[in-house]
């Protein structure tokens, strides 16, 4: 309430319109000054007349440019989230409420600024679109398409409608307050066969020690050639004998066991090397990919934890909602200079500690035994049990290099494939409104929209 009152007061006190000289206007002004001095010095009225007439456009610009921006409404429409590196469209609509006069040659400048630059070293984006002509009582829409910047939370506070009408000598900018927020999720890829292999090896190791109740939940999928590294236990002997070459069984991951993705986004306090930063981003991207792949099949519980001064945990049944929560958390995840895995173990729910598969992704080499020993919640037995379910990946060593494959295809489309429930209702409504031309000039977005249309 107080903040709003303060903002309102500031908006009243702070001028929303600015007028600046353009480069041409400045040169024009110099020529005018020369004319004026010549006319005054010589007292020749016709030179003074030319000088007066030359001053007319400058004086008229002060008045007319204000009129040019009158009764215009600019709105922005952008999705609430995007994946870093994806093509990213923002629709800008300009509505001209004037009866006759067209709005001509207007630029609309926007600023998408990171809320916290320290998250990923993100820099802002400045979309700029041009409205050539918007006739009276009409509207036009222009789509700006850029590449989504680095992960993080971005904010748009204001847009500026810029006109140089009528003579291009002065530029008038009117600031429109239209706050909006965009969360840029980390880049996600696809888990490679190598990841599945690593996961299987880990599971096998686990099974060697104790009966894994989840192994039965793996569904036989087919046969394939034996590759070095495959467990001999997976060899399908009968087929191998028939074909004369080793064949192994392939299982689809129907593992319903809970998964905990634990991130250790550690970076040194000073002198951070570029490859360390790169490792951190790899960690985040891998975690995001893992979360996305996991949420593809609902029913399993997923937990995301991260180390730091205050370790954090997000968990829930795998779902689109959870996925967005986790991706948003990963989007704003900052590097940590303190804290360790032990504290995170302490923050994990008992069920996770007891039976979930733990994937620990770190930017530094970790000694799991020491971390487990430091944990207050882990006894000797439970510690051994836990360590048997942990898959430790160190990004600084390049462990993640071939676990995820990043493609050029838009991730958001992949996500929409993975969001059957979210896409369902849109498809249903869209089916009732066929043959729509998205992106063509059409009606304006809703007035007063906060930039997240459809998310009131």
């Amino acid at each position: 309430m107080v903040g709003r009152a303060a903002r309102s007061t500031l908006a009243v006190l702070w001028p929303t319109q600015r007028q600046l000289w353009t480069r041409e206007g400045f040169l024009y002004f110099i020529v005018w000054i020369v004319l004026l001095i010549l006319g005054l010095q010589q007292q020749i009225n016709l030179i003074l007349l030319v000088s007066g007439l030359a001053a007319g456009p400058v004086a008229a610009s002060l008045v007319v440019s204000r009129a040019m921006l009158r009764r215009l409404r600019a709105t922005r429409r952008m999705p609430p989230y995007a994946f870093s590196g994806d093509p990213f469209p923002i629709d800008y609509t300009l509505e001209n409420d004037r009866r006759w006069t067209a709005a001509l040659a207007l630029f609309l400048e926007d600023e998408l600024a990171p809320a916290d630059r320290t998250v990923s070293g993100a820099s802002g984006v400045s979309p700029r679109v041009f409205f050539e002509r918007v006739p009276g009582r009409d509207r036009a829409r222009v789509r700006w398409t850029g590449v989504v910047p680095k992960r993080g939370r971005y904010r748009c506070r204001t847009m500026e409608v810029v006109t140089r009408s009528p003579f291009g000598l002065l530029e008038r900018r009117v600031t429109i307050t239209e706050p909006a927020e965009l969360v840029v999720y980390p880049t996600v890829g696809q888990l490679t066969r190598r990841w599945h292999l690593v996961q299987r090896q880990a599971a096998e190791t686990r099974r060697g020690r104790r009966h894994d109740r989840t192994s039965n939940q793996q569904e036989y999928h087919g046969l394939r050639d034996y590759r070095p590294g495959d467990s001999p236990r997976w060899i399908h002997w009968r087929t191998s004998a028939r074909l004369g070459q080793p064949m192994v069984k392939e299982f689809e991951q129907q593992n319903e066991q809970d998964l905990a993705v634990l991130i250790d986004p550690w970076l040194p306090r000073t002198k951070v090397a570029a490859d360390q930063r790169e490792a951190l981003e790899q960690v985040v991207q891998f975690a995001a990919t893992l979360c996305l792949e996991t949420c593809r099949n609902p029913g399993r519980r997923l937990l995301l934890g991260w180390t730091g001064a205050t370790p954090g945990v997000r968990q829930g049944p795998a779902s689109v909602k959870l996925l967005h929560e986790l991706l948003e958390q990963l989007a704003v995840l900052r590097a940590s200079t303190e804290g360790g895995l032990a504290a995170l173990f302490d923050a994990l729910p008992p069920a996770t500690l007891r039976e979930a598969i733990l994937v620990v992704v770190s930017t530094r080499p970790l000694n799991l035994i020491e971390e487990a020993e430091r944990s207050a919640r882990l006894s000797g037995a439970s510690s051994r049990g836990l360590l048997g379910r942990v898959l430790l990946l160190d990004a600084s060593r390049g462990d993640l290099a071939d676990l995820v494959q990043y493609t050029d295809t838009s991730v958001s489309t992949a996500l929409s494939r993975r969001e059957p429930h979210a896409a369902e209702h849109e498809a249903r409504v869209a089916a009732k409104t066929p043959a729509a031309a998205v992106g063509a000039a059409g009606p304006a977005p809703f007035p007063g929209s906060n930039g997240r249309d459809g998310h009131p």
């Binding site: 005054l40 016709l46 007439l53 456009p57 679109v129 050539e132 291009g168 007063g448």
Partner: protein, 761 residues
């Protein structure tokens, strides 16, 4: 016509007008008007070649060679006539312009061309300040504003495509021709409004610019002015007939009285120019010239008011157009003459004004004259007896007897013997003789009846018709033959009085000759010569003749002369005095009026306060129990109740403003916007939802309504259902609609709208 073509054609038209400003007054040069023609021709050439195919433009080598050649041409022009330096400079600018026009145009080149045009205009206005230059300047200014506007759009389109320095491409810029459909009625109307606003603002700035005290400077132009026939040192009798059929303006005169109020002359004022004294074989020669200054203090004779004669002073602000004569005009008797640059000089021999040279184009000067035209001219020397005998009484011997006979006869006929010693009566008798319509008539046709005799004698004896010069010559010689010293005066009589501007425009057709007869001198020590003015020309016939000159365009003189007046006196001749009168005096008056008003308001406020104090003064509680007490209490309570209600309203408004818009309301508005648009759209076509109908029922009815309006509308009959579904989702289901669906809905609503409009059309 595409935007680029309109822009380019306008640009070239502006350049042609810039060259016209420079060349329109180049009457001395036969090739002056070739420059605008050349600019127009090159503009057409550039328009069809280089502007369509930039590869066809002039190469940098040719450009440099052309630049060198232009310098050589300008230097050559300067060496041929060093007096025309400015004109040579202006022509050099045109050469550069021609070369640049043949180059492929970037924004920078367009700015250069614009600047060249501007400098041409400045040079043109320095060279000449005639009204034709003014007209061209106005046309250029209008075009320049139009072009500046289009140029701005052109630059913005290029900037949007990333074609300017420091600019990156912005979505929304047209790939092909920018601004399709720009030239429509609203655009032209707004352009017209903008031009008018800009010109008005420019005009106000011009009027407000500081001026030095004294007349504005009218620069010495390079262009010589018109020839004034009849004002040379020697004049052939009948020569003035040429000027009488000429309609061009010689001077514009603004007359005010001593208080600064506009003065409207009663009759036709006589603008004295030169006096002619020697006559020989049909030729008049001027009297000698003796420069003098008008006396600082007026002689007693002049100051003494005379009964029955007008008193006061007439100030004449005269704008004399450029001419080749040194003559300056004014009403007799003149008591002061001033000009910003060269003070007019008084010829003490005949009391006329003159200037030392004819350079300088048009000239502004001011003359103060006494309203009593019969008073002697201060500063004029009394003619010596020798001069009287040899000049003012001189009549050629071969015509003297006949003239003396006529004069004696007419004097005897019109003046009683007892009054024949009165020179004035005798002179007026001879004037009356010539004014007799049965004897003489006015004509501009000059036909000699008897070539062997003197033209004046031929006029008096045979022809008996002629123009003012014949009448004046005849009277002068008749007076002299009768022994009265006389001289002929050439000047102008009257002028076209403009009621709108309240100014007199004197044209060449108003040229006139009249006579001054010498009556003697005022008493010693002043000894000023006393002359009476005699005009023997039949006035009514002359007026009819003057009115015939000018033809059809003379019907519009009231308008054209008013415009000309504004141009001459409020543009070219706008000085500190006029600025003060037009600009600062009204502001001062307004401030003074406002101050007076505030003082009055203060006084009234004070009175009201005192009245209120008396009204609200109740010495004790008992005095409240009265009619006054009841009325005061009632009004006070009423005011308090109103104040309380207003405070509550204000607090609520403030609270609502501080709270800001309700986010739920915004969300709902966002969700329902499509539905609202649908309802509004269908409402325009008579399909409205009654309050008792649900949105779903309304959608069904709308679908049926659309299905029955032909195939086009049937194709969009599903839109109401889809929109209402979306509305229900948002309004009652609190669900979201994704951007893609919103886009679909918008597009479908667009389709519905266009379908309905097409159907209606």
């Amino acid at each position: 016509m595409s935007f680029s073509n309109i822009y380019r054609a306008s640009f070239y038209a502006m350049l042609v007008f810039a060259s016209l400003v420079l060349s329109i007054d180049g009457t001395d040069s036969r090739i002056a008007m070739l420059y605008p023609v050349a600019v127009a021709a090159v503009a057409v050439l550039a328009f069809v070649t280089v502007d369509r195919n930039p590869a066809a433009g002039v190469t940098p080598l040719l450009l440099n060679l052309g630049g060198l050649a232009s310098i050589a041409l300008a230097l050559l022009e300067y060496y041929v006539d060093p007096n025309l330096l400015l004109l040579a400079l202006g022509h050099w600018l045109i050469y550069l312009q021609l070369i640049l026009m043949l180059r492929p145009k970037t924004v920078g080149e367009d700015w250069q061309l614009f600047l060249l045009g501007l400098v041409e205009v400045v040079v043109g206005t320095v060279i000449s300040q005639s009204d034709s230059v003014g007209a061209m300047l106005f046309a250029w200014a209008v075009l320049a504003l139009w072009v500046l506007g289009l140029f701005s759009l052109h630059r913005e389109a290029i900037r949007a495509r990333g074609g300017l320095r420091g600019a990156s491409a912005a979505p929304g810029a047209a790939v092909g021709e920018p601004y399709p459909g720009l030239l429509n009625g609203p655009f032209l109307l707004s352009a017209l409004r903008l031009t008018a606003t800009t010109m008005a603002l420019g005009g106000v700035i011009f009027l407000a610019m500081p001026r030095r005290v004294g007349m504005a400077r009218t620069r010495a132009g390079d262009v010589p002015g018109q020839h004034l026939t009849g004002f040379d040192d020697e004049v052939q009798l009948g020569q003035m007939g040429e000027i009488l059929e000429n309609d061009s303006v010689v001077m514009s005169v603004e007359m005010v009285d001593e208080k600064g109020a506009r003065y409207v002359p009663d009759g036709e004022p006589l603008w004295r120019g030169v006096t002619m004294s020697s006559y020989e074989n049909g030729r008049w020669q001027r009297q000698g010239r003796s420069p003098a200054t008008l006396p600082a203090s007026l002689p007693r004779t002049v100051l003494q008011p005379r009964p029955g004669r007008p008193r006061g002073v007439i100030r004449q602000r005269i704008k004399l157009e450029a001419n080749d004569s040194t003559v300056m005009f004014g009403l007799r008797p003149m008591i002061e003459a001033s000009a910003p640059r060269r003070e007019p000089e008084l010829n003490s021999v005949d009391g006329t004004l003159f200037r030392s040279d004819t350079r300088g184009g048009s000239i502004d000067y001011e003359v103060r004259s006494l309203r009593d035209s019969e008073l002697p001219q201060p500063g004029e020397s009394a003619p010596s007896p020798y001069r009287v005998r040899t000049r003012l009484l001189a009549v050629p011997d071969d015509i003297r007897p006949r003239l003396a006979e006529i004069a004696a006869r007419e004097v005897a006929l019109r003046v009683p013997p007892a009054e024949r010693s009165d020179v004035r009566k005798r002179a007026q008798a001879l004037e009356a003789y010539l004014l007799n319509p049965r004897e003489f008539s006015y004509t501009l046709k000059l036909e000699v009846v008897d070539k062997d005799i003197d033209p004046v004698l031929d006029f008096l004896l045979n022809r008996k018709e002629g123009h003012c010069e014949y009448f004046a010559s005849a009277l002068t010689l008749l007076l002299r033959a009768d022994g009265i010293p006389a001289r002929m005066v050439n000047g102008f009589k009257g002028g076209d009085w403009n009621e709108l501007a309240r100014v007199m425009n004197v044209r060449q057709k108003h040229a006139h000759s009249w006579v001054e007869a010498y009556l003697g001198n005022t008493p010693w020590p002043e000894r000023l010569p006393v002359w009476i003015t005699l005009d023997p020309t039949p006035g009514a016939e002359r007026d009819r003749s003057v009115a015939r000159v000018g033809g059809f365009k003379a019907n519009f003189y009231q308008i054209t002369d008013a415009v000309r007046y504004v141009w001459l006196f409020y543009v070219v001749g706008y000085d500190a005095e006029r600025q003060n009168k037009l600009f600062y005096a009204p502001i001062r008056a307004l401030v003074s009026e406002a101050r007076r008003g505030f003082t009055m308001m203060g006084q009234e406020l004070e009175k009201t306060r005192a009245w209120l104090r008396r009204l609200l003064h109740f010495p004790d509680a008992r005095s409240l129990i009265s009619v006054r007490g009841f009325a005061v209490s009632f009004v006070v309570l009423l005011l308090l109740a109103g104040l309380a209600r207003a405070s509550v309203w204000l607090v609520r408004r403030l609270a609502a403003w501080v709270r800001g818009p309700d986010p739920d309301a915004v969300a709902l508005a966002a969700g329902a916007a499509h539905y609202r648009r649908l309802a509004q759209l269908l409402g325009e076509y008579g399909l409205e939802r009654p309050p008792a109908e649900t949105q779903d029922e309304f959608a069904r009815r709308a679908t049926q309504f659309l299905a029955g309006r032909g195939s086009d509308a049937a194709a969009v009959a599903d839109v109401p259902r889809a929109v209402v579904d979306a509305f229900y989702r948002v309004r009652f289901g609190h669900l979201d609609i994704g951007p893609a669906v919103l886009g679909h809905l918008e597009a479908r609503l667009d389709a519905l709208e266009s379908s309905l409009r097409a159907n209606q059309a």
